[in-house]
């Protein structure tokens, strides 16, 4: 059976309900559909990924390869005495919380939450949780930063 006989000519028609827009670019539109997290979640995940690769590499290499040894309240303070590490740690805090919670959201959307209202509720709940965690993390680091 050839492609013509199965009813599919070129370009192939999208399966109903999966690809609402024509596939014109490289990206399949379904990747950016709100049921898969939406365009902003997709973009935010990639921007924070780059921040995390640079920041986390600095964070882990500095903590475990260059300064390997016993960690303590005091030597954490030494590191946070440098404004470079303050910038690294605060951007890591924000990027990691966004990336982690948005990643968890992607997992949830893959299996559950078929209605738009429930997806919006999840997004709002995660923004509240993420913002609170960011403020809490800043509060936890503040004695070292302000010292």
């Amino acid at each position: 059976m050839n492609a013509q006989a199965t009813g599919h000519s070129s370009p192939p028609p999208a399966a109903a309900g999966t690809d609402p827009a024509p596939t014109t670019g490289r990206m399949r539109p379904s990747v950016l559909d709100s049921s898969r997290g939406g365009m902003w979640g997709w973009l935010g995940q990639r921007v924070t990924a780059v921040v995390l690769i640079v920041g986390l590499l600095t964070h882990i290499v500095d903590t475990h390869l260059f300064n390997l040894g016993h960690l303590s309240y005091l030597n954490i303070g030494d590191r946070l005495g440098s404004s470079f590490f303050v910038v690294i740690d605060i951007s890591l805090l924000a990027a990691a919380i966004f990336h982690g919670l948005n990643g968890a959201r992607m997992v949830v959307l893959d299996y559950w939450l078929q209605t738009r209202a429930s997806r919006v509720a999840l997004t709002i709940a995660l923004w509240v949780l993420g913002s609170a965690t960011f403020v809490y993390g800043l509060w936890a680091l503040w004695p070292w930063i302000a010292k």
């Binding site: 599919h8 690769i53 960690l71 982690g100 809490y136 509060w139």
Partner: protein
């Protein structure tokens, strides 16, 4: 013959990549979930200094010097490296870079992750050897 759309959906002709790609996806997801859990635990531990003083944090950090925790740290480093390098691969595919050599890109990314793990493993085991040469006794 299947239509191009159906072929893409079912990954027809993917060969070995079909299995490998599935494992890469699954491990990526598992590592991601582990890292989210670790992130909140990490923030919790670091913030303990704010609740009950320096000594609480210091005793937690002393506990983490135990070989068991050093090995768990090494597992965590693997989760980070695998997730990061597989993520790099995904970013490259998003930019359309190396799509026609995607298996080679995967192999190179994993090689970088394994070499990175090697550095940390060397550090972890020499740390354990230096600080716990007398045996792997009780915690702390």
């Amino acid at each position: 013959m299947v239509s191009p759309v159906d072929a893409a959906a079912t990954n027809v002709g993917a060969g070995n990549w079909k299995g490998l790609g599935m494992w890469a996806w699954l491990l990526f997801r598992i590592a991601g979930i582990v890292l989210v859990i670790y992130l909140f635990a990490h923030i919790g531990v670091i913030s303990s200094a704010r609740w009950s003083g320096h000594s609480t944090l210091n005793s937690a950090l002393t506990l983490f010097d135990h070989p068991l925790f050093v090995l768990l740290d090494l597992l965590l480093v693997w989760a980070v490296l695998f997730h990061a390098l597989n993520g790099v691969r995904i970013l490259l595919m998003d930019f359309g870079l190396g799509i026609h050599r995607h298996k080679a890109v995967f192999v190179v990314c994993m090689a970088v992750a394994v070499v990175g793990l090697g550095f940390f493993a060397l550090k972890a085991f020499s740390y354990i050897a230096a600080h716990h040469a007398g045996g792997l006794g009780g915690l702390v």
